[in-house]
Structure formats: C-alpha cells, structure tokens
C-alpha cells in the first residue's frame, strides 16, 4: 500500500498529471459542447421540417408570387418572440425574429401574462408583441406554456 500512496502522491505533484487532467477536461468539455450542438440542431431541424410540412394546415395556402429570400437559419423550436400576425385560436401566428412566421398553439394550460396579471387567450390580438416559451409539436407548432405580452419595441427610423 505504501507504493500506491507514493505513486498517487508523485502523480499529484507531477506536471504531466496536471497536463493530462487539463487535456482530458478540455476534450470532455468539447464533447459536451459538440453533443449539445447536435441536440439543439436536431430540435431546430425537426421543428423546421414539421413547420414546412404542415404550413398549409397552420397558415392556409401560401400566397402566390415571390416568397422572398431564404431565411439565414432555422427558427427556435422551444419558443419565439415577435409581433402577432393573425389570431385564429388556438393558433396564433407570430412573426419571429428572422421574419419567419411561427405558429403558436395555445392550450388550456398555457399561462398568458400581461404586466402583473394573467389574461385569457381571447384578450390576445393582432399586432401585439409577445414572447413565447413552449415545446415543439409534430404539427410544426410551438405548444405554448408561457406567453408574455410585452410593450411593442420602438420602431427604428429608416
């Protein structure tokens, strides 16, 4: 047992052990970040696929003519923020951060907050600015768990 204690003590004091620990921790951190990136990317890609497949179900037929440029990235799958375009309960269409329309489904358990008060879904209207937290559904919607109605952000001068 004495030799084991000596070995552990020498390992603890050596620079090599410190370097090995640092390398192992760095690799572990890189693997965790990589894995997190895969999970997040997978969620966003699945949501975007479902959103595209159920676009007509959620928003109706696409307007004819040019549909504009491709968005730079996928919308977040677990929430959105932006202005309400249409309200057709239980579906609310929100213009997301990249100008992408995101369908938000309001359920009976959805908590809707405005200021310090809880409000009902019927009090939500077009043009209001909201932040949503929820979870993605297979129909390409965000099933809202929390909706916070915010004051509209100031309009930037052109």
């Amino acid at each position: 047992m004495q030799w084991l204690k000596r070995t552990i003590a020498s390992l603890g004091n050596s620079i090599t052990a410190g370097r090995i620990t640092a390398i192992v921790l760095t690799v572990a951190a890189a693997v965790i970040v990589f894995e997190a990136g895969i999970i997040v990317g997978l969620h966003k890609a699945r949501f975007e696929t479902a959103r595209g497949e159920h676009y007509v179900d959620n928003f109706g037929p696409r307007p004819m003519g040019p549909i504009g440029g491709m968005p730079e990235g996928f919308p977040a799958a677990h929430g959105t923020v932006g202005k309400i375009i249409t309200v057709n309960l239980p579906i609310i269409a929100v213009e997301g951060p990249d100008g992408i329309e995101v369908p938000v489904e309001v359920s009976e358990t959805t908590r809707i907050r405005k200021g310090f008060d809880d409000i009902r879904a019927e009090n939500i209207g077009t043009g209001q600015f909201i932040v949503v937290i929820g979870e993605p559904s297979p129909q390409g919607r965000i099933i809202a768990k929390l909706i916070r109605v915010l004051p509209a952000p100031p309009v930037k001068a052109p």
């Binding site: 997190a36 990136g37 999970i39 997040v40 969620h43 966003k44 977040a76 799958a77 677990h78 929430g79 959105t80 923020v81 932006g82 997301g96 951060p97 990249d98 908590r111 907050r113 932040v131 937290i133 929820g134 979870e135 768990k145 929390l146 916070r148 915010l150």
Partner: protein, 129 residues
C-alpha cells in the same frame, strides 16, 4: 565552472564585445516580440469593435435578450419549465458572434499579458542614485 585545459590568448576586449553582442541581440529580440504582441493587441482590440457590435445585434435579433428578461419578469413560471427554457436559450444564442468575441477577448488578454510581462521595467529610484 569552465575548465581551461588548453589556454589560448584571447584578444583584448573579446569578452566585453561578446557580452555586448548578446545583450544587443536580446534587446532586439525583446523589441521584436513587443512589437509583435503590440500589433496583435491592437488588431484584436480593433476586431473587438465589429465583433461586439455583431454580438449585440445577434443577441437582440435572435430574441435572446427577451428570453433572458423572462427569467426576471416571470421567474417562477420560467424555472418550472427549465428544460424548455434552457433549450430555447441554447437555440437562440448567436454562437458565431459569441465565439468570435470570446476568441478576440482571449487573444487581447494574452497579448497584453505578454507585453506587461516583457516590457522593460523602469529602474528603481535608489538604483539611479
């Protein structure tokens, strides 16, 4: 200690000239390194301006700041849906801008650290007397 088994006659003043040459070489090396680290510091500090500006725009446009603000305005509700909230933050954080800003901050800190370590120190007052 150098053993002198084969004594030879060295030219007068050779040792002084060698010491002077080594000293001059060291000074030149130090100056070049300082110039290199200085250039790196200035470049990284200049790069910080567009990087931080891009980061601010990215945080604002992706809605990240709005989501974070929810944690303060609706804390208890947000914490009860911690998984969705953390995934939402991970989905909306502008990784490229964050990574670029962090790399530039690290380079700036490293190069400034090298400069302060290698910069010539002013002689102490008592040494000048």
């Amino acid at each position: 200690m150098i053993r002198n088994d084969y004594p030879i006659d060295t030219p007068a003043g050779l040792e002084d000239r060698m010491v002077f040459a080594v000293d001059r070489h060291r000074k030149r090396l130090r100056t070049m390194r300082l110039a290199g680290y200085g250039t790196l510091s200035i470049a990284s500090a200049a790069g910080m301006i567009p990087a931080v500006s891009g980061l601010a725009t990215g945080l604002s446009q992706s809605g990240f700041l709005r989501y974070v603000s929810l944690a303060f305005s609706d804390g208890s509700a947000v914490w009860s849906m911690g998984r969705d909230f953390s995934l939402l933050l991970a989905e909306s954080i502008p990784f490229t801008s964050v990574a670029a800003s962090l790399v530039l901050i690290a380079v700036l800190a490293w190069s400034v650290g090298k400069i302060t370590k290698r910069a010539p120190v002013a002689p102490a007052p008592y040494a000048m007397a």
